[in-house]
Amino acid sequence: MRVELRVEAWRAWLDERLGTDAVREFLRRKAVPIHRHTIWYYFGGMTLFLFVVQVVTGALLLLYYRPSAEAAFESVQFIMTEVEFGWLVRSIHSWSANLMIATLFIHMFSAYFMKAYRPPRELTWVSGTFLLLLALAFGFSGYLLPWNKLAFFATKVGTDIAGDVPLVGRFLLRFLRGGEEVTGATLTRFFGFHVAILPGMTTIVLALHLILVQKHGMSVPPSLEGKSLRKMPFFPNFLLRDLIGWVLAIGALAALAALFPWGLGEKADPFAPAPAGIKPEWYFLFMFQTLRLLPAKVGIVEGEVLGVTIFLLGGIFWMLVPFLDKPASGRRSRFFTGVGVFLVLYLVIMTIWGYLV
């Protein structure tokens, strides 16, 4: 009895200062609809979990990593060979990054096909597309940090492509490289992006995204809208199911890290020729492959410039989908579903093609 009284006193104390009762009340009411597409609701939480894994392992790597052209490669080598569980922490960081991008894509396309961007969730979608951009920027900047040959040339190619963006290309190239060439200055910059600027931006956009998800609750697909659906409480039923997924993810990460530890390759040498088989990370392969297929000149425009422009416009279109699609009118809505199917096929085919060639 005494203990219960004390707990009650603590609850009242905290509530008076932090308003915790409102959170408790919110959690008590929050519910997740049950239907045949409920499985897709788990991928947002999974992406968030893998992001937390990135933050924790990334903070650990910072204890030993040294961001300079002279010391970066050696410090990663030191992590992989000397530091206890260093191979595990770095491999999990790399694997989790890749899985996070994968679950992010699944989350995005499931939201797209269920038309979860319908009013009033347009800004949830827009904030999500920003998070996709941030995740890709994390991947691109993190890839260079071990300062190995593959990363060095992938960054050369990647920043060169950024230089093809109409109007601002040259500025962008110099901004990304910290000069005309990929050098130690680029590494320092990418390190700053990767551990300070991108995390700061992500914190803000992610907070907005999550607040909007709480504000509007789970969206149900149009075909099920208006029907009376069974619901499960978010806390604890849905969260415990989430938790099972996260435990499985940790297991998968540990297994992947142990069976396929992330390699380090050879130290970058700015004056050595590019090795054969330069490829970006898999999530950039579709762009890489597209640019490779374009002819040098299309009419009067350079092929590369055309490709980059198309990707840029495509990205803006993708971000604005909630304002262009009017799910109430059937034909236009089916067109957007078609666009999604085409895009998935395009991404899958180009990625596999780019991987095989």
Partner: protein, 145 residues
């Protein structure tokens, strides 16, 4: 005697509790181990060339590198060579030779050592470690005793 279903519940709780515990251990053990820096094996140098014979006039001193630690080479007013660890035994500052005091002096907390390395004034608790000095031709070779 608890019922069968109560016993079963208890068993399940034990299994669940231990697996949660094991998972947490499996996560936090590597994290803690990772944070402890590994021992860096020092290249143990037995001796080092600290300077050249005509470099130091009598009543002067210089710092030299002994592996990754600083050493102090002193030429006493009588012309004799002496070498010590330059790490003050008080709080790890680097000591220097003071020609005006004819002493080894630490600027951090006014610690003083005589020319045998013995702590004679101020806070240092122990003498400086003394090294052996040998002249080999033009080179002054310092080695650990």
């Amino acid at each position: 005697m608890p019922s069968w279903s109560e016993q079963r519940r208890k068993l399940l709780n034990i299994l669940l509790g231990t697996s949660v515990g094991a998972t947490l251990v499996a996560i936090f053990y590597p994290i803690l181990k990772f944070m402890i820096p590994p021992e860096v094996i020092e290249a143990t140098q037995a001796s080092v060339v600290a300077g050249r014979v005509n470099e130091l006039p009598p009543n002067s001193g210089k710092i030299f590198k002994f592996g990754n630690k600083p050493g102090l080479l002193v030429r006493t007013p009588t012309g004799e060579y002496k070498a010590f660890s330059a790490v003050c035994t008080h709080l790890d500052c680097i000591v220097q030779y003071r020609p005006d005091m004819r002493l080894i002096w630490c600027a951090c907390h006014n610690g003083q050592y005589n020319l045998s390395g013995k702590n004679i004034a101020g806070p240092p608790p122990r003498p400086l470690e003394e090294y052996v000095v040998n002249i080999r031709g033009e080179e002054i070779v310092v080695s650990k005793a």
